[in-house]
């Protein structure tokens, strides 16, 4: 199988289209006969990443690269960045605004869910310099 790459744009505060990139990725992986458990893991990570960018980030991109042996998922944004990454990775810690919490977001599980559902997880961020999350899934 050749390498397949796709990029999706994520708009700031766009709750209407949030999740659509992950649904497209899920359908794409399904059409490639990917193991359903792996599809679910990638979909969870994609969705959490999209929501993070929509709620906290600026403009963002979700990139997926599907190789024979692995899937790479990278999500980046040019938002305000994360001041304390260690705290952001703690389950239950969230900086989401009340209006997002009322919608059921901001449980402080987004980044931990992404880490748990991927085989390799990296996060890079600096105040005012955006955030980049990279995940690898072995097939």
């Amino acid at each position: 199988m050749s390498v397949l790459k796709k990029t999706f744009h994520i708009n700031k505060k766009d709750f209407i289209h949030a999740g659509e990139a992950s649904i497209k990725i899920k359908n794409l992986l399904k059409s490639l006969n990917t193991d359903p458990k792996l599809i679910r893991r990638v979909a969870v990570c994609g969705y959490e990443g999209e929501m993070n960018v929509v709620m906290h980030g600026g403009e963002g991109f979700l990139n997926i690269q599907i190789n024979t042996g692995k899937i790479l998922l990278n999500i980046s944004d040019d938002g305000p960045g994360i001041e304390d990454i260690e705290r952001a990775m703690e389950k239950g810690f969230s900086t989401a605004l009340d209006k997002y919490r009322e919608m059921g977001f901001g449980a402080g599980m987004g980044l931990p869910n992404m880490k748990e559902n991927s085989d390799h997880f990296t996060i890079e961020s600096e105040k005012n310099r955006g955030t980049r999350v990279g995940m690898v899934f072995f097939r």
């Binding site: 709750f15 209407i16 949030a18 999740g19 659509e20 992950s22 649904i23 899920k26 359903p36 679910r40 979909a43 969870v44 969705y47 959490e48 929501m51 919608m103 059921g104 977001f105 449980a107 402080g108 599980m109 987004g110 869910n113 748990e116 559902n117």
Partner: protein, 112 residues
Amino acid sequence: MIVKELTDQLELQIAAGEKGLSREVLDGYCGDLLSDVMGRAPEGCIWLTVQGHQNILAIAVLREMAAIIIVGGHTPDEDTRQKADEEGIPILLWPKSAFELAGRLWAIIGKK
């Protein structure tokens, strides 16, 4: 059991997504925190929530749910109804508490 049979048995109101009424219900899940639902809801489940905004549809599609039941007299937004019709995921309404409905669902589809 399919969504239509449960809808009839429990007298649930159908708010949207009628073309998905033949989806099979394999399990159930209750939750209003979307990350929790996204991380844990089982495939083919019927999901009980108070959330009525359209992001619930993305969760239901990604987790391959059978249907969503909005409980406690809450109602879906118009955008949510539209998206449910597009995706063919039924949105059902239950006027009383999730607790009572979950108990009744457990008696019908519950499993160890």
